[in-house]
Amino acid sequence: MSDASIENEDIPLEVVSDVDQTWQDTVRSLVNAYVLVPGRIMITDYRALLGFGIVFGYLFVGTVGVWLMEPTTMWDGDRLVQSFETMAHPLGTDPQGRDILTLLVYGTRPILLMMLSGGLFIITIGTAIGTVAGFSRGRLDQILSMITDVALTIPGLPLVIVLAVTLNPESPVLIGILLAINGWGGLARNLRSQVLSIREEDYVEAAKAMNVSTGNVLLKDVLPNMMPYILYNFMSSMRGVLFASVGLYYLGVLPYSQENWGVLLEQAYSGGALTTWSMFHWIFWPIVAVVILSIGLILLSQSTDKLFNPRVRARHE
């Protein structure tokens, strides 16, 4: 290369732009980065597509579905109509004549709320504690690590049962948080060790040299590396909350104010649905609802790695 080709006036510390970027451009590039590119990546992967479809379906049912359907009351239909017998009660009715499909649809919303609040709680607390501990060294790290260890060693289920019985929470959001109360320990510990190695990367030191604030370094240089892992954790903790809530309702530990899948299961079980063939649909459909949602989450979580991998992203721009 020839040195002469670079002239003083080309030198760019003074350059300013003569085009103005409009807000439409900004929106367009944001849409591109957060909607189009992920969309294109998903389309190439049928599992992600399926997972996304399932989860989106539940979201739709839990929001719009509730609004489209009349709530069901006792003696809406005959007692114990079997599945697929009449169009009025496609999944059948329970012994009190309530429509099972409607019960499921109305049960979706509190369950989703619980999962969402529990999942968000876990990743917020886990990420915050893990990254700050890993990045800060010294005293703060020691304190946060100790808290994490405590959270990890307390046995989860008994704690949740004790808290549930004493606090007797009713709002699904609170129940979700309660169920996730000590689920963040593993995530925090794992992130801490990841941050420890990312902190040594040269680009983090370069950012420090450029006087980038610690918050920004964490946000722009450290977190993106861990995003796939965090998202994966989000999905799996939502699954955890789902199972925990259904399980605890089933055990009758959680107070039930609203009908949800766990409550349905408990009622069906105590009504003898497991042993009587004519009642079997009563317990079967709530289980199916839980299983499909859980499969959807698994499928979706398997594709999170791709969404953030720059090598994959680059191919879809």
């Binding site: 290369m1 760019p12 300013v16 370069a206 040299a209 006087n211």
Partner: protein
């Protein structure tokens, strides 16, 4: 064919060896019809840039190509008894015996070869047992090998691999590979990760080993000058084929345009700085090798004939083959720079250093406590690593100071202290008269804010793979510095500016580069982006920590040129850290800067770049100088004797008393072990060695500590 006659002395013959991988883009040929003979008892250097197929050649020699690659052709090996075996036809069990017992291999990454949980002794024992050898006799042999390689067998046997330094590990690995007394040793970049001085020392030892044990060595490397003195013949590879083979003694024997250009691109200590030329273009893709001569798109002598037909490898002199249609014209058209150079010094960007120091470091000390974290360490005093121990340095405006030294000498720590990224445990760092760390703590008296100081001191790292955040595009990476100190710029201005910078750094079209992720850039391009990022802060001083060492030889000059050009435009100073005197000379020499040589945390010699290179005073600097082979010395296949007495750098936890270099210094006398020479000052060129002191210094009357240097005693007498 004359093969019958020559065949007697060939221990290995490759005929039309091709290695190919099926990929979804097409068939990728990573070795393309290679034919070459390897003589018994010779050292053959195989030289090529990264991606030239040289490592694949090593794998093919042992039929060790990984799946799904396929090897075609013929590799015949002639045993001691005169039988010929075709390696590619062997069964797995026969192959296993052949490898190690007949042909041994040493790879670059010594660490990944050793099992980290097993002591070195275990590795030797296991190898002996696996090949049904007599263990006692084998271990005796192992001791001898280790001693030959300047390792203490008893100490080394009882250590775990991670406790050894890189150079020790590599030497232990060489001993391990020779334990079964093979005839052929294939080495793939065995020293590339090590310091130059260590590389040269190992090469010296190899030369002795080869003689003592009658080995045939195939030495694969990217560094032609390094192996020139060691090898008997050199084979140059380009685009997955051998371009030429020539006797190593005299580099002017080379007749292929590629070899010439390669040699002219390597910075060295003798060529005048103006003569260095990088090679235009880039190496071909294995899926799509150019038709005809694969070098024609980059060859200055290329003619239409070259594009049509692939020149065969033909013999033009004994031991010399070349694949080029126009090799007779090479001497005329592409003379070796080191032959034509008049030795005169290059044009330097002179006189632009001001007298005003930007950064002044005064008696800097950086001591780390090693903590092993174990319970036991509670009861011991923590061990102190003296990374930097009392160093003064002033860096002026538009200055270039190159710091040279082996790894572990504290040069990186010192550099980071200079730009305020490492807090010294003693002494002060001042930016334009104002103490950096006091200002950071808000105690300073100066009127500059810490932000301003922070902006003025920037860094470029060594490893291109880690210097850029893999998750952000170039354009967003380069906006960070502007966001940091020019908040008045809006996003379009920032973009316009970074595009202009990319263009200025020779990365065009800039829009295209700005939109890439780091993994879509080559190593050299990543380093350019890192340089631009640093420059966008408009700094006064940039620490370039081995910023070119990880790049291919032909790209280093490019990168350094860019640094110099931009220095001229931006008025920055560089603190350039390197283990390689030639790179230091290139950068500091062109800018009329200084070279400082560091050893175990101290600067032991400092002076104007050309002075240090042409007239090194300190015995250690002389050793470093020795390690960067002169391209034009015509010694034949003999690595000359090393000017140091011990290969390994002493432990910085417990540095030697007196002059820290005395255990390795060939000139050391008793006084050196007790008294410490200080860096004489007053002149431009200062040296910390008693030999620079006046005639009446006690040094001259004291007894020498011993003069045996490396390579002097390993020879035949001990066998």
């Amino acid at each position: 064919m004359s093969q019958q006659v020559v065949a007697q002395e060939n221990i290995l013959e490759l005929r039309d060896v091709t290695v190919s991988f099926g990929m979804n883009r097409g068939v990728s040929k990573v070795l393309d019809d290679v034919s070459i003979d390897i003589h018994r008892g010779e050292i053959l250097g195989v030289v090529g840039e990264s991606g030239s197929g040289k490592s694949m050649l090593a794998s093919a020699l042992l039929d060790a190509v990984v799946d799904p690659g396929t090897v075609d052709g013929e590799v015949s090996y002639r045993t001691d008894s005169g039988e010929t075996v075709d390696i590619l036809d062997l069964e797995d069990e026969e192959l296993r015996q052949l490898r190690w017992e007949e042909i041994a291999m040493v790879f670059q990454g010594a660490m990944s070869f050793f099992n980290p949980t097993m002591k070195i002794r275990g590795h030797f024992l296991e190898t002996l047992k696996a090949h049904d050898q007599d263990v006692d006799e084998g271990m005796e042999h192992a001791r001898e090998l280790l001693t030959d390689l300047h390792l203490e067998p008893d100490r080394v046997f009882d250590t775990f691999p991670h406790e050894l330094s890189g150079g020790m590990k590599q030497r232990a690995l060489i001993a391990l590979s020779l334990i079964l007394e093979p005839n052929v040793l294939v080495m793939d970049e065995p020293t590339a990760a090590l310091d130059l001085l260590m590389q040269r020392s190992i090469l010296t030892l190899l030369d002795d080993l080869q003689e003592k044990y009658d080995l045939t060595i195939v030495f694969i490397t990217h560094d032609l000058p390094l192996v020139k003195d060691l090898c008997d013949r050199i084979a140059v590879m380009y685009a997955f084929d051998v371009m030429e083979v020539f006797p190593a003694g005299d580099l002017s024997n080379s007749t292929h345009p590629y070899t010439r250009s390669l040699l002219n691109a390597v910075p060295n200590l003798t060529t005048s700085l103006d003569e260095l030329r990088s090679i235009e273009g880039s190496a071909p893709d294995p899926v799509d090798i150019p038709s005809g001569c694969s070098y024609h798109p980059r060859c200055p002598l290329s003619t239409p004939e070259c594009e049509q037909e692939d020149p065969p490898l033909e013999e033009i002199a004994p031991d010399q083959e070349v694949a080029c249609w126009h090799h007779e014209k090479v001497d005329e058209e592409l003379p070796l720079a080191l032959e034509t150079s008049d030795g005169g010094s290059a044009e330097v960007y002179e006189g632009n250093q001001s007298d005003e120091p930007v950064v002044v470091m005064d008696d800097i000390e950086v001591h780390f406590e090693t903590d092993d974290g174990g319970l036991l360490s509670l009861f011991d005093d923590p061990e102190i690593v003296r990374a930097v121990d009392g160093v003064d340095l002033e860096i002026y405006e538009n200055d270039v100071v190159a710091i040279v030294g082996e790894s572990g000498c504290g040069k990186t720590t010192f550099g980071k202290t200079a730009v305020g990224l490492q807090e010294p445990t003693g002494g002060s760092v001042r930016y334009r008269g104002q103490d950096i760390w006091e200002t950071k703590r808000g105690e300073g008296t100066g009127d500059r804010s810490y932000d301003e100081i922070r902006r003025a001191l920037q860094i470029i790292h060594q490893d291109p793979g880690s210097s850029l955040n893999p998750n952000r595009k170039v354009s967003s990476i380069l906006q960070v510095p502007m966001k940091s100190w020019q908040s008045d710029l809006d996003v379009e201005d920032r973009k316009a500016r970074l595009l202009a910078m990319l263009e200025a750094a020779g990365m065009s079209p800039p829009e295209d580069y700005a939109d890439r992720y780091p993994h879509q850039l080559s190593g050299g391009e990543k380093q350019r982006v890192a340089l631009i990022r640093a420059l966008l802060m408009n700094p006064d001083l940039i620490l370039a920590d081995e910023a070119v060492s990880a790049l291919d030889v032909s790209m280093r000059v490019d990168m350094m040129d860019l640094m110099l050009t931009l220095q001229d435009l931006f008025d920055t100073s560089y603190l350039f850290i390197s283990h390689n005197l030639t790179n230091a000379r290139y950068l500091a020499g062109r800018a009329g800067g200084r070279i400082a040589v560091m050893y175990l945390g101290e600067i032991i010699e400092i002076g104007p770049a050309e002075e240090i290179v042409q007239n090194p005073q300190h015995p250690y600097t002389q050793a470093l100088h020795w390690s960067t082979t002169d391209l034009d010395s015509n010694s034949e296949g003999e690595a000359d004797e090393s000017p140091i007495r011990a290969i390994d750098v002493p432990d910085p936890i417990d540095p030697p008393s007196g002059c820290r270099f005395h255990p390795r210094c060939p000139e050391a006398r008793e006084v050196c072990a007790t008294e410490k020479p200080s860096l004489d000052s007053g002149t431009d060129h200062c040296t910390a060695c008693f030999r620079e002191y006046s005639e009446d210094h006690p040094y001259w009357d004291s007894e020498p500590l011993g003069e045996e240097t490396i390579g002097a005693h390993v020879g035949g007498e001990s066998s």
